[in-house]
Symmetry: C2
Subunit: 249 residues, 2 copies
Amino acid sequence: MPEHLRDHERPFLAFGTEIVDATAPYVSAYKPQAAHFAAAGAEDQLVQLIAHIHAHYPNIPVILDAKRGDVGSTAALYAQEAFERYGADAVTVNPYLGHDSLAPYFAYQDRGVIVLCRTSNPGSDWIQGVMVDDEPLYLSVARQVENWDQNSQCMLVTGATYPEELGLVRALVGDMPLLVPGVGAQGGDIHAVLKAGLDTDCQGLCISSSRGIIYAGDGADYADQAAKAAQELRDAINLVRSALSDSKD
Amino acid sequence: MPEHLRDHERPFLAFGTEIVDATAPYVSAYKPQAAHFAAAGAEDQLVQLIAHIHAHYPNIPVILDAKRGDVGSTAALYAQEAFERYGADAVTVNPYLGHDSLAPYFAYQDRGVIVLCRTSNPGSDWIQGVMVDDEPLYLSVARQVENWDQNSQCMLVTGATYPEELGLVRALVGDMPLLVPGVGAQGGDIHAVLKAGLDTDCQGLCISSSRGIIYAGDGADYADQAAKAAQELRDAINLVRSALSDSKD
């Protein structure tokens, strides 16, 4: 948190609003991380931040990064939290409890449900990569989510740090959009991600940089630094995407 | 929520406090479900409810049922939420992101980390039951958690609705305590759970009934009804446990 905001009455809201206003020209979605607000007891500021995005940038969807996963009756409450309390357009969820743990989210047919598949962190391999019927578990998850997705409202989380696996997921799920964290601070490579992950229309990726944008600067000009980092990332993505699109034609 | 509490200024706190005060003689732990408070934007009432338990019943631990699961840097924030903001003695977590997603919880060495293993809901089988190296995935999870648990602070969630699987987990993890939801509203059988799940000292189970207790009544006497249901469940557990203990001697 930049120094001049540390004594702010609502520091998360102030920080987030300035980041949003500075980066809006360059982004396709916002993905606030619920844990930052939860750790500080600042949920009200998250409500206000998302309301700010909806009010000022109605064409930019908000993904609540919450990674919830619970039995059906409880999942219904978490769906209510994400979609009604926070007004999120989509929410990230965990597949480990199966279909009945996701059904309450599917019931909100105008919202997105983004299921963890192949996460970007180093320790995920022991479980996501285990072989099940000659394919790694994360591909079984992708296959299952595709079956469950009767309303074209699902996406899959596939980390930029595993571009080869990202390509296997893409090959399996057709044009289902993928949410790709791990570019930026976690070191994912843009060219490898786009090459492996774009769909047949050279679309279908929502590439997320979090720390690489919001912590681009830590001084009074942090929002300008964030805008600069967002613009650079957008330009880098579009450059590679154009090249790949041209080479395809 | 009983009618006389619906207009209460802090209904979740009032409801929870009355349930706690009425049931305290009969319980070994409290397990508040974070989603109920999150859906209603009532996190402050959860903070106060847990503080009430600690202040009045210091020997009864509080398990925050949050089922969080996220990459390391974010998991550190969720651990802060559970252990510092809420002051929980233990928290439920999801294994799908692997060790680095749990390490921040392990760092709180005086707190419990309760990992989802074989959950009680019907839809969990497709992933938790897949065969990996000749054993179902949930047993791989149990094995892995036992390896990770360098500080004897872990438990596993193993639903009462699958007593046979509960027995397989018990056989694998020795005396690691198990958290067993699914008794009560979800229909799990106490005798089958105890027979399969008790450790060699006839201990090691934390059996959870949630809806069966807190919704035992819905009138003005709901707390008394909850106490009655808690006492009946405790007595039923102890009766079966005595019988099993006698038959073992």
